[in-house]
Symmetry: C2
Subunit: 334 residues, 2 copies
DNA sequence: GTGAAAGCGCTAACAA
DNA sequence: TTGTTAGCGCTTTCAC
């Protein structure tokens, strides 16, 4: 990489002259400015990012910590973050906590050494179950703002972007009930995290309000979802509705129903938290609760960048943005 | 963030003494070292990463440019890269080219200003179709090594990690033929990229060798895959085998077959390029060609980090690593 | 209009 | 054993 020093030497001027010329300072004469710029272009000069960061004490980089990159929702949020960040001249450093508290702490500490200006993150499962939040508080107290999305810690004072999980399943369940369904089961493989629990509660409330009986199928990490859902259908011949809290279970519930000669949506109606691309994996296509992952990511980035721009904004003055889900009807419901 | 300067002041020693003490230099006396370390721990001192980068002229950061984060294979590779990089003390900055040549160029240039020590990337679709490679060459000539994976440019001299795409479909097709299948169709929604073409050729070779007739279903960007596959089955009652080049088509081919009262695998046998989690989306589960995405990512990171360690390794001395696929049999084949 | 010098935080050669 | 100094690449204040 060519430096100011080298340009200065070649042009027989001082380093500061070159710097000013390139920054269009009007201290510098017209022709010098021209000469400098020409040579800079010739050599494809680019200001060294690291030197700039050191000088200006900001990196224009955001640290993103996500629990699981293979989760379609989370990678979509990442996409949204990246795009919004880029728009504002920010880069993103991605760390994957793999649902581990230790890794999450490490990533936070590792990047809090001047590598990034702030963080966007969704909390690891282990962190949620152990209810650890000190590492977040420490980071914020160090002057590095955090924006949390989806899985958030309500006891940490910071900006947040969340989904209306409770409302979503509440309404989706009502929808099935309105179709006349009486035996609606809730399937979830995310029972251990906050949003999973919220979704369950929304379902429960809806069911209980109508005087129906809730029925849950909780999938554990190493369960074979196909086997479990098969057993469910085998034991319960009267199931006529499914609410799936994760993206796979709804698809499987549809495809498996046929093994029991049950037609979707005639005999069983299915709604799942999923994306358009995954809804394609079932025949008929899954009616989905869309979470607008990209929008969530974009909003999170926006909140963080806003805060970085106004450095003396009070920590107390944080906001929680709710991104509402949309029920996108397809052929798995009436 | 606390700095060496502040520690030095508080301890009434010079900055370099503090620096040396923290780096365990044996120039420094036992007790001074102790005093320094204690205070450093107390204040939770961490060396400023940016200053280190500037000083040592390396960032310990890798730029990763991927065409599409929503592609499950690519995000899995990203996972592999991140893990391997972390193991060696590297962070990753992620850029998403969104299959656009322009964005790919931009990302490359943006990070080539000292932000990263090298790149790992998979080439955007547009870049492949326009056959542009100068931006890669420029970057490498600037002294920033590149490792390409999956979609690579063979005319660029750099380390590469690829899948044996041709061989994979060649063998998978042979497998179906060995089952006695005569009417095997090849379905692909990635016809425009290099790996898609290789997969098609492998299929073709296998089919032609056996004196059978190749049959292709090429899905375009805005096609509804379910509709297309439905039409395919409707027009071709004798199809008894499917090779899917992408991760969705195989799953859909299985689930759609039932609409035509055709049993999988009895009547139709299906193999797809997919992952374990997606293979779950069909009943019966899809037999998949596994690409070992994480391993590909890890290998790419390893190659890059190796090269960064031996800075005077010749550009001519690059290697191409082939990560072989594995056929994982499930219930969609005999 | 141009340049010298200081300083961001750190390391390391050299001096004391 | 400890300190001084220079320098990584850049911006910016202040002198000329």
């Amino acid at each position: 990489m060519v430096t100011l020093k080298q340009l200065a030497k070649e042009l027989n001027v001082s380093i500061s002259t070159v710097s000013k010329a390139l920054n269009n300072s009007d201290e510098i004469g017209e022709d010098t400015r021209k000469r400098v710029k020409e040579l800079a272009r010739l050599y494809n000069y680019k200001p060294n990012k690291v030197a700039l960061s050191l000088k200006q004490n900001k990196t224009k980089t955001i640290g993103v910590i996500i629990p699981d990159i293979l989760n379609h929702f989370l990678s979509k949020v990442l996409f949204g973050i990246e795009r919004e960040a880029n728009k504002h001249g920010y880069n993103i450093i991605t760390c994957i906590s793999n649902e581990s508290l230790e890794k999450e702490k490490e990533s936070l500490e590792l990047l809090a050494n001047g590598s990034v200006d702030g963080f966007i993150l969704s909390i690891a499962e282990e962190t949620q179950s152990k209810n650890e939040i000190n590492h977040f508080k420490d980071t914020i107290n160090q002057g590095l703002p955090i924006v949390m999305f989806d899985r958030v810690a309500h006891d940490v004072k910071c900006d947040k972007v969340i989904v209306d999980d409770f409302e979503s399943t509440y309404r989706a369940t009502k929808n099935l009930i309105a179709e006349g369904r009486k035996n609606i089961v809730f399937i979830s493989n995310i029972d251990t995290i906050s949003v999973g629990k919220l979704r369950e509660r929304g379902y429960n409330k809806s069911i209980l309000e109508e005087g129906l009986t809730p029925k849950l199928l909780i999938l554990k990490k190493n369960d074979d979802p196909q086997q479990k859902i098969k057993q469910l259908y085998k034991k319960n011949k009267t199931i006529d509705g499914v609410i799936a809290a994760d993206s796979a279970s709804g698809v499987i519930a549809i495809n498996m129903a046929r093994n029991f000669k049950r037609k979707v949506p005639k005999d069983i109606s299915v709604i799942g938290f999923s994306s358009k691309s995954v809804s394609n994996h079932s025949v008929p296509k899954l009616t989905v609760i869309r979470q607008h992952a990209k929008k969530i990511g974009a909003k999170a980035a926006e909140l963080l960048i806003d805060r970085l721009k106004t450095p003396h904004k009070s920590i107390e003055d944080y906001s929680t943005k709710i991104v509402k889900t949309t029920l996108v009807k397809s052929k798995s419901t009436l």
